[in-house]
């Protein structure tokens, strides 16, 4: 499987290079909006929808039963970076994309720069529904431009602090409310024989979530060109903070999403995890021995009295430009991502956390969760969802940015270099990648 993946990424790189040659530099986000109109089709239509959400067919069935004239056909595959995004790019080239595709927020700009997406803001139904979404999730699909939207927000990953209430209490450590308190607690946890958390060395998205909260802004686009800023003061602050914990060996650094990592939580060696709402499920299945001992608190703040959260993950349902039925596609995507019946099913099947304001308040998210000592943990996340700052933008080449940052982070964790140096190197390589794809970038 590993070789296959490597082959797939090799192909991805070469195909990206090809598409980049094809599209030239004439089309960047925020440029002229597409003139395509969004009018209802006449007669019955069939829409294809590619996603990797498990159990999606049960959700789609509810729609199909009620809408005989707009039938949705589901196609599936591995997750986005596992191959589905590359398939989308291939299909863009061959002109046979599905009508709708599942695209994570951090990948949306790369499809936008390839001019692959339909601007759903031109659909009156979408423009009307805009206010239902949490403002920052809408910003993830509009890239900060009021007049356009390159998808319908689907889910979000507001972050909070998961912690072992029993261990903190037994060792008389207060639950940290600020990052300073968190670092102080880390010392005490170490003295008690544990690690306060595990720093994610290879999945950069956690670090991105920390930066998001701290106010760092890695990418910006002014309609003409991109600005890359992986080394602004806010990002540096976050990098220095974690570098300090790593250097003092106050955090463990096993690779995330491995059995080793699960085991660190299961064996009570890691005491907290600052993670997204879907992390609740990861702990539950990865650390079954610790049932009933976890609680959730708001994310630590950079200064006392502040109240900001970060986000980790989330995706949109995008309409591809070649769709013949953009209106109906948008209509289905809106139902999928705003209606209570669909959101409840998505949550049940795949633990998706909604991107609408009403969605975070639905009753099924107010239930006490046994694994977390019957705490109503989703209330904490609903609050966090409202406190994510709205203007974080992803770049158009996140795959390579992540890969480069991850290489640097792994080195830093094993003692050569620092996180800050890794980010500086990633800054440079990201600008090079943008230039090599003929995407205009400010140096």
């Amino acid at each position: 499987m590993r070789t296959a993946f490597r082959a797939a990424s090799a192909l991805l790189v070469s195909a990206l290079a090809l598409t980049a040659c094809g599209s030239g530099g004439d089309d960047e986000p925020g440029g002229t909006a597409s003139a395509a109109s969004c009018a209802p089709s006449s007669g019955p239509v069939t829409i294809t929808y590619t996603t990797w959400i498990p159990g999606i067919e049960n959700v789609v069935k509810v729609w199909n039963d009620k809408n005989p004239n707009i039938q949705v056909k589901v196609q599936t595959g591995p997750n986005g970076n596992g191959g589905t995004y590359q398939n989308f790019f291939n299909q863009l080239k061959a002109g046979n994309t599905p009508d709708l595709g599942h695209i994570e927020y951090d990948a949306l700009p790369s499809f936008r720069v390839q001019d692959g997406l339909f601007d759903v803001a031109s659909c009156d139904i979408v423009a009307k529904a805009k206010d239902q979404f949490i403002p920052w999730t809408w910003n993830q699909v509009s890239f900060g431009d009021d007049k356009s939207a390159w998808g319908i927000p689907q889910d979000s990953g507001p972050m909070a602090l998961f912690y072992r209430a029993d261990l903190f209490e037994k060792n008389n450590i207060a639950i940290p409310k600020t990052w300073d308190e968190y670092a102080a607690a880390a010392e005490k946890v170490k003295a008690a024989g544990g690690y306060i958390t595990n720093f994610s060395q290879s999945d950069i998205n956690q670090f991105a979530g920390f930066t998001w909260q701290a106010g760092g802004r890695w990418f910006a686009n002014d309609g003409q060109q991109w600005t890359v800023n992986l080394t602004d003061d806010k990002t540096k602050k976050v990098a220095d903070y974690w570098q300090n914990l790593i250097s003092k060996k106050l955090v463990s650094t096993v690779p995330p999403w491995t059995t080793e990592w699960d085991n660190a939580y299961n064996s009570s060696s890691a005491w907290t995890w600052v993670s997204a709402v879907w992390g609740a499920n990861s702990i539950m299945s990865g650390a079954p021995k610790t049932a009933g001992k976890w609680r959730v608190a708001p994310m630590p703040q950079w200064s006392a009295g502040e109240d900001v959260a970060g986000n980790w993950g989330g995706s949109a349902t995008a309409v591809f430009k070649s769709s013949k039925h953009p209106y109906e596609a948008a209509q289905f995507a809106l139902w999928l991502n705003t209606s209570e019946e669909a959101l409840a099913l998505l949550n049940k099947e795949a633990q998706l956390y909604p991107a609408t304001t009403a969605g975070t308040k639905y009753s099924y998210l107010g239930n006490p969760v046994e694994f977390y000592g019957d705490q109503k943990i989703y209330e904490v996340f609903a609050e966090a969802a409202g406190k994510v700052t709205p203007d974080f933008t992803w770049g158009p080449t996140m795959t390579s940015t992540y890969a480069n940052a991850s290489d640097g982070f792994k080195a830093a964790v094993s003692g050569s270099g620092t996180l800050e140096e890794a980010l500086a190197a990633t800054q440079k390589s990201t600008i090079e990648t943008l230039k090599s794809q003929a995407i205009p970038v400010k140096e």
């Binding site: 499987m1 082959a7 192909l11 990797w52 196609q75 599905p98 059995t259 990865g286």
Partner: protein, 289 residues
């Protein structure tokens, strides 16, 4: 003394080299078998014990319960994938072997203009990795609207340049021209001669070609990845890979992927155990002649 010494050295030497050889073999065996052992042990554990117990030794033996879970998951989609894999690989390897045999036999036994050119073109096909062909194939199938179908994976899997090469070498070596002459004189047509006489003589090589082809199609992961979007058409490799990419969000899939991986290697193991006798013959014959 002087007579005994060389004999002693000789024995010691051979003992040394034999021990060394055995050691190398043992290391190789451990190296190759440990992952399979790990897989088997892992597949026999519940998800809870999977992370918390020794990865190389059993805890409670839940293998059959796990297999039951896997077969029940999403209406038994895994069984469907296994069936697809057998159809893609078994079907393609069978037809592909016949095609390769015919082609190799024709190149070996008939004289016609451009024979060597054709052979060399086929041979250069051996050097092109399947990975590099997947994207062009996708674009071609897109033109005729045939992506995301059974045929989009099956048809490209039928051809096997290495099989043609092997078949030609083997036909040259093992099918005597005199025998074909005799068959012709006895009134046998060319097609009949091929199936009744030549294939019998080429049988060990055909098994080799079949096995090579079977493994190649089974492992050709990128083609289905690029072509298919309908879960019901996936081969087992792609299906398990898809699940594995979702382990972060749906952690219970990890257990299913491990059991699925164990089950998915069984057809290959079975094929090898049954056919290894011929396989050895075929390889040896090809190598010497």
């Amino acid at each position: 003394m002087s007579v005994a010494a060389p004999a002693g050295t000789k024995i010691r030497e051979s003992l040394l080299s034999r021990t060394a050889a055995t050691l190398v073999m043992a290391v190789c065996t451990v190296y190759f078998l440990t992952p399979i052992w790990w897989l088997f042990v892992g597949a026999s554990k519940s998800s809870e014990q999977f992370t918390s117990t020794n990865p190389l030794w059993f805890a409670d033996f839940d293998l059959f319960a796990n297999i039951g879970d896997l077969f029940a998951y999403r209406d038994g989609v895994f069984l469907r994938w296994m069936l697809n894999s057998v159809l893609y690989t078994g079907g393609a390897a069978l037809i592909g072997t016949v095609l390769a045999a015919m082609c190799g036999y024709a190149l070996a036994k008939y004289r016609f203009r451009g024979r060597e050119v054709i052979f060399n073109v086929v041979l250069s096909g051996v050097l092109v990795p399947a990975t590099a062909l997947a994207l062009p194939l996708f674009l071609l199938f897109s033109k005729v609207d045939a992506t995301n179908t059974f045929w989009s994976v099956f048809l490209p899997s039928l051809v096997n340049p290495f099989g043609v090469y092997l078949a030609r070498i083997y036909a040259t070596a093992s099918v005597p021209d005199e025998l074909l002459e005799a068959a012709r004189i006895d009134g046998s047509g060319e097609v009949r001669t091929f199936f009744k006489v030549a294939t019998r003589l080429m049988f060990p090589a055909l098994v080799t070609i079949f096995l090579f082809h079977f493994v190649a199609v089974w492992n050709n992961f990128l083609l289905p990845l690029i072509m298919l979007g309908d879960e019901r058409l996936f081969p087992v490799t792609l299906g398990l890979y898809s699940w594995n990419t979702q382990v972060n969000q749906i952690p219970e899939l990890r257990g299913l992927v491990i059991i699925g991986a164990l089950l998915s290697i069984t057809p290959l193991v079975v094929a090898f155990l049954f056919l290894q006798r011929f396989w050895r013959n075929g390889l040896g014959a090809g190598a010497v002649k």
